[in-house]
Amino acid sequence: MRDYTIFIPEFIAAGAALGLIGLELFVPRVRKDVLAYLTFLAAIAWAVAALFYIDKDPNTFENVVRVDHFTTFFRLLAAGCVAATALMSANYLRGRTATASEYYGLLLIAGCGAVYLAAARELLTAYISLEILSFSLYILVGFIKRDIRSSEASLKYILLGAFSSATLLYGISFVYGVTGSTYYDQIAAALAERSSDTDAGIIVGFMLILAGVGFKVSAAPFHMWAPDAYEGAPLPITGFLSTLSKAGGFALFLRLFTNAFQTDAVEWRWAVAVLAAVTMVVGNLIAIQQRNMKRLVAYSSISQVGYMLVVIAALGYGDDEVGQAASSALLLHMVGYIIATLALFTALTAYYNRTGDDSIGGLRGLAETQPFLALVITVSLFSYAGLPFFAGFATKLFMFQAAYTDELVWLVVLAVINSFVSLYYYLMVMRQMYLFDPRPGLARFRVSPVLWLLGAGLLAAVVFIGVYPGPAFEGAERAAEQLFERPFETEAAAAAGAPQQHVSVP
């Protein structure tokens, strides 16, 4: 029996997206910030609906999509990101566009795409989810049509994105060619039994998939699009790009590399380790030279991806126990990173709404003119740098500790050193805010209550995770546990009844 109930949360989100577009169609004069608040409510409803799956057993749809704790985890994450981004956009978008319903609709749909990246148990489903996420983002990045930088960013993102999708698809076809299946379980089983003359093919396949997803999460050397897209995109979308879009990519990484590809870890783990090392070094070194806040965040988020890739490498080097601990720690780190990033962008948006300035020098004297925003920015950057009291300290420590295996000592050491280097450019931002007097003519100003509350809420969350990471860590562990259930002996048999094409191993 096909169980459609597992899709209910996304029915809500996608339905709300269509509803919003319809609403503006029939009531064109609706205030654009009302749309934002409606999106917020829809995202909350989405999250609440997702909560009903917490106590349920994992359930699959035709073995293509699986709703388990891991999916629920990403549902909550996606809904949270969408809700926060919608609130951030409310005032930002009001003066800049005539129509906004597509913006909010696409935001919700992008969220759904990210969720199914996490839920997919089959390569083509994952690919389609990734494209849903990417296409929504292409449009969102270029949403401010009158701004030439926004259009340029969108174009660059589309071209490189299309290229990376092709790479990914090509990689998928190699894996399919060797294993004869696109289902994760069957891929895992087939990889365990494949003969050594398929080595070349499978390595090429893995590398292409790694490159394709690497593009999406902006791992160096596939990061070239990120700084331009980040700089040109509307500010809240920049935040969305560096949170949910990356989270989606890592959800896919985790599903693939814990489940489908783990049996063949020797073939890809070294590449992931190298990718992690290159990404964190490149991101950090280039971030030091940035003058624009959005570009700084772009490069700093590239280095953050490098740290997270350490865990993916550890999945290949460690046994299941290490992998499970490392994935839990990665999920925890991702939550902390996402909350800190959303807090940072809330503050930057509030500042941008007021001044229209997004350079680092523009933050000069913020501690005088708006101490609250300065505090929020400080806390998020310190959380990135992994300083205590804030989420990054505990989550980074756990993540690197979990990934510390005998083969990866060098990578963990490199990550810690990089994390130290990053402190330098974060301090440069702090310096502008706290050590200098504001530009003449910029008086103390107030932040709109919505952004104030959002910022304060996220700030509290960053501190809470930093001081008491226990509950979030346990949640992350429950989510990660089910990644490692190896159902290909049991479920694969059940899946045999499901419609499958070409199950012949060449």
Binding site: Q324, P388, L397, F400, Y404, L427, L435, E477
Partner: protein
């Protein structure tokens, strides 16, 4: 609830006091400076009271069963999650004889620093929020018996310094603040790596320091491992303890820092480094310590002599004290490197002694700099006639610095010298040479600044304020008590030191 556990709550209260002060201050409007100051004075007084209680109530060995770690309190923080096993991370607080003395030092210096900063008028609220964050970090490090929280608080103590120096400092403050922060955090990177390695190697699934100490002693951490990773911890912590050649942040940082920050920084924070060497070096990796200690002895001796020589040639008050701190921390490291009970006891006593005396020196430098706006020795002369009380206070601090009998410096340095002569006589000779140099740079400073013809520019200088007098009197009290009646100090520290692994009695 047992008595010990009840006292554990005193420890918790001491840790929470700065956090509560910080939180309260967050909600006080920035222009209510009087309220900010009163909250801070009150918090400082409470901390001093609680710290004194902890020190006094610490049970010394009197026959019977003696356990060095007392007043313990533990809560599970996270356990049985991912790689964390039973007792994975606990908020495990407690004091032993060493940390009891350090806690007392923190209480004294923090309160003295608060009194000294009362006249601060620029962003008073922000200053005290960061100041209490720093103090919370210091207390937390001394109390923590869990590696996770140890590192948590250790970092917490370092971070606020950037803003404290950058915003409220003087003389190339941005440079000093950045250099200091980056060097100290670079040190933490090494500690961080060491922590990963220890947790992984011990394989206990817990950050509990007591359990890890046992593993270190009983072979849970192999000998090779200990030898490999001991330098990680010692250099990492050594940066904060101004271990030569990683001391270069110290003079610059002190020169730039505002008065209270210099006091707390030189007074307490640098001791965190030496404390870290005891906790993470000697206690966690005893075999590594045994192997590497001669190296530390060499570096400590170089630091002691180098700091004293450098101080001889400086013209800035703060640079003299900065380099003299390098020299005195060199003694501390020498004491630790002896690996015998008397030497390490001396090192811990020196941590206390240097803490109070250097805080007094920086307090006095701040008192004159706020009026004269220069710290160049050559600008001064005959200050004795204008600010007699200032001169008396400074002289006491200076003499303690030199190691005059009857003041705290003598007690501490005597122990260190005895310990050093037992193990490394050559280093002992050099240490005494450095002490002689200390007399030279102090007397040079006295003769230039206190005596001679009075520069007419300084005729309208006022003597130190009542707040500074109180603050100074508190510090002088500590210096004299330890100089005259050292038994309570030596007992508490000695009892614990004798039980350290691989330490000769």
């Amino acid at each position: 609830m047992t008595f010990d556990e009840g006292q554990g709550y005193v420890v918790l209260a001491t840790l929470l006091a700065p956090v509560v002060a910080m939180t309260l201050l967050l909600f006080v409007p920035g222009n209510q400076k009087t309220a900010v100051r009163w909250i801070s004075i009150l918090a400082g007084a409470v901390m001093l009271g609680l710290s004194t209680y902890i020190f006094v109530a610490y049970q010394v060995e009197s026959g019977g069963d003696f356990s060095p770690i007392q007043m313990q309190l533990r809560w599970d923080w996270i356990e049985n999650t991912a790689f964390l096993g039973e007792d994975g991370i606990q908020l495990h607080l407690g004091v032993d004889g060493i940390s009891a003395l350090m806690v007392l030092l923190t209480g004294i210096v923090a309160f003295a620093g608060t009194l000294a900063s009362i006249k601060l008028d620029y962003r008073t609220k922000d200053f005290f929020i960061l100041f209490w964050a720093l103090v919370a970090g210091v207390y937390g490090t001394f109390f923590s018996l869990d590696l996770f929280f140890f590192f948590f608080f250790y970092e917490l103590a370092v971070v606020p310094l950037y803003l404290l120096i950058g915003v409220w400092g003087s003389t190339r403050k941005e440079y000093g603040a950045l250099k200091l922060t980056l060097m100290l955090v670079a040190g933490s990177v090494l500690i961080w790596i060491g922590i990963f390695a220890v947790f992984h190697e011990a394989g206990l699934g817990t950050f509990n320091l007591v359990a890890l100490w046992e593993a270190g002693e009983s072979g849970g951490l192999s000998e090779n491992f200990q030898k490999t990773f001991f330098p990680c911890f010692v250099i990492g912590c050594g940066v904060l303890a101004a271990l030569w050649p990683f001391h270069t942040w110290s003079p610059d940082g002190h020169m730039s820092a505002p008065t209270a920050v210099s006091m707390v920084h030189a007074g307490v924070l640098m001791k965190l480094g030496a404390f870290g060497i005891i906790r993470l070096g000697i206690q966690l990796l005893p075999e590594g310590a045994e192997f590497w200690m001669p190296g530390l002895m060499v570096l400590g001796t170089i630091g002691a002599v180098y700091g004293a020589v450098a101080a001889l040639t400086q013209r800035d008050f703060k640079l003299i004290s900065g380099y003299s701190s390098v020299s005195h921390m060199g003694y501390v490291l020498m004491g630790l490197a002896t690996m015998n009970a008397i030497g390490i006891t001396g090192a811990v006593l020196q941590m206390f002694s240097h803490g109070v005396m250097t805080a007094l020196v920086f307090l006095m430098i701040g008192a004159i700099y706020d009026q004269a706006h220069t710290r160049d020795l050559k600008d001064f002369g005959g200050i004795g006639k204008v600010m007699p009380l200032w001169v008396i206070f400074y002289t006491i601090a200076g003499l303690a610095n030199v190691g005059l009998p009857g003041l705290s410096g003598f007690t501490a340095e005597f122990h260190i010298f005895v310990g050093t002569f037992r193990t490394y006589p050559v280093a002992g000779v050099l240490a005494i040479f450095a002490a002689a140099l200390a007399a030279a740079y102090m007397l040079r400073l006295f003769s230039i600044v206190f005596f001679g013809p009075t520069n007419p520019r300084w005729l309208n200088l006022h003597d130190i304020t009542p707040m500074e007098r109180m603050s100074g009197a508190l510090l002088i009290g500590a210096i004299i008590v330890m100089g005259v009646w050292w038994a309570p100090f030596v007992e508490r520290v000695g009892d614990t030191v004798e039980l350290l692994p691989r330490v000769a009695s």
